[in-house]
Amino acid sequence: MAADAALMQIIGLSLRVTLTAVLVACAIGLPLGAALALARFPGRGAVIVVFNALMGLPPVVAGLVVYLMLSRSGPLGDLALLFTPEAMILAQTVLILPIVVSLTRSVVEDIWAEYREQLQSLGASRLRAVPTLLWDGRVSLLTGVLAGFGRASAEVGAVLIVGGNIAGHTRTMTTAITLETSRGNLGLAVALGIILLALTLTLNAVAWGAGQWARGRLG
């Protein structure tokens, strides 16, 4: 029973950290990606390339950067966030944000190219068009959000460094799998991996179903 409670706690923490990171990354990344698609400014190409490249940022590097920021000897040390779930959310947000920004930019650019004249004839400015464009691209955007979720729920490098894998406090599915592997409990490690996969599968199925429903009803 105690082991079950610990497992539920680990699953709950994993979902809370990753889903919160996805929400924060979307709150920032959707408007930012749309703005990047519509705005024209010097250096825009460079910004796009940087965001595209950051999609490949190794989780362990993201973790290290966030660790150095949050460490007591770092610039944000006074916040006392290192080795907390909040630090893990921050690190995963850093990982997901480039995916959300880049995919949003790409999707919105395409829709804008297609409907530009129509929207402008309706008197919509670029800024006012953003919500419409995001809404029109919702099904494609969902794929980007799911990719972000997948990246965050699968990574171990960042959460291990900034969370510390503290039992009952910052231990997630992936850090628990790492720990059990290092204890030679390969069977338990695989079992945890299967649970993680099942969760990811369920979430993707729900998202796909919602996308189909939205397409049929509203599309």
Binding site: T20, S73, P131, L134, A167, H169, T181, R183, L186
Partner: protein, 271 residues
């Protein structure tokens, strides 16, 4: 469009709500940077609930190699370090990062290797002779290679044997004790491990203990409060309470009462 705005707002608000719903920080906790050998063996899971029941202080353990754990202390990211590499610990205190080092407990290192013992290590009469036999036979050896306490002890054994380990047979894994043992079991290779990790390690494959008992394999653990003069936020009072408890009779008995498969893993240092 209003619908879009509303759902975006809802999403954002629920995100904030989830952030706010994160559990409030426990009233009293300390962070202890320790080693993989203590955490992986299950020692902390055994003794920490006793300490918390007695004092109400929660101990959050971040388990790393000794080198990394001391670095965590140097940066002020832990209140207490609990590690096993005496020379590094004494340097940590001498540099002013630690207040004082206390002996807590010890276990010992053992040399594990393939049961058929291709290098004839079982015949060696000392740990240094065992290492010389492995190098002489060119038999595979899996090293931590991560500046951990175990890696430091291993380097000491090589220099006692007068050998500079290098070559195809010497595998520096650059990872923790468990990962190194997983590698050694697959190759198969010899490896130096602390007895605690070995006893609780489940994936031994063809490996068994081939050398043990040499006094140089003695592996003492020390505990040090991070110096509040260097890092003012260190919870000196609670950290010291943990140190006082672990060297007290209650703490020492808690350590001695921890067993895996009926075997005691760690032996109290305080008489």
């Amino acid at each position: 469009m209003t619908h879009t705005r509303r759902s975006a707002l809802l999403g954002f608000a629920s995100g904030l709500a989830m952030l706010a719903a994160l559990p409030a920080v426990a009233q009293e906790f300390i962070i202890v940077a320790s080693t993989t050998s203590t955490e992986n063996s299950g020692l902390f899971g055994h003794i920490l609930p006793m300490f918390q029941a007695e004092t109400g202080i929660e101990v959050r353990v971040v388990s790393q190699g000794t080198g990394q754990a001391l670095e965590t202390g140097r940066r002020g990211d832990a209140d207490v370090v609990f590690v096993h590499a005496r020379a590094q610990e004494e340097a940590f205190v001498a540099e002013g990062y630690g207040v004082q080092r206390f002996d807590v407990m010890y276990n010992d290192f053992v040399i594990v290797g393939p049961a058929d013992d291709p290098a004839g290590v079982r015949a060696a009469d000392s740990a240094a002779a065992a290492m010389a036999a492995i190098a002489g036979a060119g038999a595979s050896f899996a090293s931590r290679g991560d500046d951990s306490g175990t890696h430091t002890a291993e380097k000491g054994l090589w220099s006692a044997a007068g050998i500079d380990p290098a070559g195809d047979w010497y595998l520096s894994t650059g990872s923790g004790m468990g990962a190194t043992l997983n590698t050694a079991a697959q190759v198969p290779a010899y490896a130096l491990t602390d007895r605690g990790t070995w006893l609780s390690f489940a994936n031994r494959g063809p490996l068994e203990i081939v050398a043990q008992g040499d006094p140089v394999l003695f592996n003492p653990y020390g505990i040090i409060l991070v110096n509040p003069d260097k890092h003012a936020h260190v919870k000196a009072e609670q950290g010291q309470a943990f140190i006082d408890w672990i060297v007290s009779e209650a703490g020492q008995q808690a350590i001695a009462s921890f067993t895996v498969a009926g075997e005691q893993l760690f032996f109290p240092s305080v008489q």
